[in-house]
Amino acid sequence: MKKRMTVLFSLIVSTALLAGCAGGNGGKAKSAVGPQNELIYATAKDINDMNPHLYPGSMPAQGMVYESLVENTKEGIKPLLAESWDISPDGKVYTFHLRKGVTFHDGEPFNAEAVKMNIDAVQRNASKHSWIKLSTHIVSTKAIDEHTFELVLSEPYYPALVELSMTRPYVFISPKNFINGETKDGVTGYNGTGPYKLTEHKTDQYAVFEANVNYWGGAPKLKKITSKVLPAGETTLLALRKGEVNFAFTDDRGADSIDVEAMNQLQASGEYQVIRSEPMNTKMIVANSGNTESPVHERAVREAIWYSVDRETISQQIFSGTESVADTLFSKNVNYADVELKQRGYDLEKAERLLDEAGWIQETEGGIRTKDGSPLALKLYYDVNASSQKSQGELIQNTLKNIGVQLDLVGEESSSIANRRSTGEYDLLFNQTWGLAYDPQSTVSAFTSEASYYHTTSGIAQKDELYQKIDQVMVSTDEETRKSLYADILTIVHDEAVFIPITNGSITVVGPVNLQGVSFKQTQFELPFEQMYFETK
């Protein structure tokens, strides 16, 4: 018996020692610099289906492989696969003069016929693309000659070029990869015209992109980019420190794989640099006004939630000051968004008053408010891969509990959250605006799209007026009308409190210190990898 006790005792001591080690400093970072000319980036999700005419694929990966006709830059629309274009005086006919000597990765020539095939294939799957309003305006496509392509619209549509510049769906894949002339049921390969080609893909493990040496813009300097699937958080941080990966960035769902503190630690190690873009989007909670059975159908409840979000604490504590407080859906620097809107800060008394007035009564101290016997209980969905969303959710949950609102947090995969957004199976969910290239026009037109924010906006009082104005603004040609229409639209959704803004998010890149040429596009969904290179010491 004594021996058993001794054994037990020694075990406890040894665990304590082990534990003591674990409590020590965080270990030393090894040289992060992997093989030169190679980037290995960490991602929480597989690149998935790289078909550029569908939506499951990873946008940063698609952005490397495929290209659009034009590019959206800070200075406006610039040529990409089209060298120039003409727009007819009535605004309906677009003639693109295509870049010559461009080939797809499989050697097929990029020409007007290929452009027509691709755009036609997208159009034949219109229901999937209803969020992009251009798809409802295209009347015909025509290859005029080898390098001239004509696009005819049903009516003038001002964001046409902007929408053609997006990462998908109006990008081009080799005609040889079509199956029976279609892309909607899958493709046989992923040959685009972009600076990188996909050479290897192991689902849920990694994908390898190699430089396209025949790229029309010159072979990119980084010869190889690998996308490695790693769970977000500490695993990624560790992999970065050990040099198993050497790059990480905010993904297309707005989730950072490591938190701010970890980034600062990496930067302090001297091996890595952290680069942040200017604010690109607004992170927000979206309320389902369209679900008449949910309490958030009521404007007062939505407003009360708005008043219960302590944005200052979220910005300072959860994001360590890297993301600024957002009070409106779009920040003032977004086009047409400089509109005077009612300020709603963190004000719990106000929130309580709103709920009381709306008939949500707290019977007992610390209890859940009820109205007509049903409790004020809501579900907030967050992305399981985004730890900051969970923390924010928990903070808001705690605040709401104090004013008698029960908030349940449900963590799900991002794809299933996207599905909820379109099916309307939610009370509240975390989301973000689509970024500089898409705001406001695409985000606003998505208000009416059933695949996006239809359920969010469909339950508000001025629904018809809102939808009408959105239709008008998209076809308006006069700048002043557009301005006033946008002002009305943004005022309506602001007053209805269906999009509850939290912070302004940006893209963050963590890369080796000697990596140069890191820049950002107007879209938050892709990075210009082809411009990056390693500084040789």
Binding site: V7, G27, K202, E413, S415, A451
Partner: protein, 310 residues
């Protein structure tokens, strides 16, 4: 022997059928309507009555239950488990490679567990009650009490970060196996070691050992004989270790980012991807039954007396 094998295999067929039936029925136990689940999972914006009827027909859900079951079973036998609700890809195209990865991890771990538990079990049995026996038993008790994901985190921290010896995660090289296998061995070897030990002990006290000693047989030969007899219990238990560990690597895979079944299943559960869950349960239950049968067969081969019992 052949009759026994045939008999034993035939016996597992009804069990497999019941399992497949239960797995098929799982979908129907869910509080949600399968048609709506499919539509939601595909992100269909507006669900109308017509759409439900249409999807019901296209999924074949309007046919009688029995017909659907047999169709499904026939398809499953060809590894066609339908398409994932979320990604739309065939289930097996996702599950197959993941299954293979988990199987690799499992087999390596089981082999390591067998080696460790036999060596330790035999050593401890031969020195029953001595310090070695007691301390190994105590330690094994303690180690099996640790949550394996916690152990995994500590090991990553120590071996990958502190000592910088091994990769932290993934399945890139042979080195990637070391930590996950070590965690599984630590969590499981304790249990199997105890089985080997007690099986050895019970044989040590059998009359034939006494007799052999009395006849003056060399000690090595006696030990070999005991080992052989003890292994009969152990072999069947070890056989079952394969499907059990196959089904329990979930947490370890999660910590080490192993691209296996565990990661896939947790994600499927979170997004309520029923065909994936169904296929996972079916594949593992079948593996369980097959290994069970296999262990019976091995036992029968080692011990002819057993063959008489059905």
């Amino acid at each position: 022997m052949v009759t026994y094998i045939v008999k034993r295999i035939l016996l597992s067929v009804p069990l497999l059928l019941v399992i497949s039936f239960l797995t098929f029925g799982l979908n129907h136990l869910s509080p949600l309507d399968p048609v709506e689940v499919v539509l939601h999972a595909q992100g269909v914006p507006k669900i109308t009555e017509e759409l439900i009827a249409e999807t019901k027909a296209s999924l074949g859900l309007n046919r009688p239950f029995a017909v659907r079951y047999f169709d499904w079973l026939a398809a499953c036998l060809q590894l066609d488990f339908g398409n994932s609700y979320v990604t739309g890809k065939p289930v097996w195209s996702l599950l197959g490679p993941a299954f293979l990865n988990t199987l690799k991890l499992t087999l390596v771990s089981v082999i390591a567990i067998i080696v460790f538990s036999i060596v330790l079990g035999v050593l401890c049995a031969l020195r029953e009650g001595k310090a070695l026996d007691k301390s190994v038993r105590g330690i094994s008790f303690f180690l099996t009490s640790m949550p394996s994901y916690w152990l995994a985190a500590l090991m990553i921290w120590y071996f990958s970060v502190k000592l910088d010896l091994l990769p932290t995660s993934g399945m890139d090289s042979a080195q990637s196996y070391i930590l996950p296998v070590a965690v599984l061995v630590i969590s499981y070897a304790g249990i199997y070691f105890r089985i080997v030990r007690s099986s050895m002990l019970s044989n040590l006290n059998e009359d034939y050992v006494l007799y052999a000693r009395a006849c003056g047989l060399p000690e090595g030969k006696i030990t070999a004989r005991i080992l052989r007899n003890s292994m009969q219990v152990a072999v069947s238990v070890f056989c079952m270790a394969v499907p059990i560990i196959l089904g329990s690597t979930v947490v370890v895979e999660n910590v080490f980012a192993w691209p296996g079944l565990g990661t896939l299943t947790v994600n499927s559960i979170l997004s309520r991807d029923f065909p994936m869950i169904q296929a996972y349960v079916l594949v593992l239950a079948v593996a369980f039954v097959l290994f069970n049968t296999l262990s019976d067969l091995i036992n029968a081969a080692l011990n002819p007396k057993l063959r008489r019992e059905p």
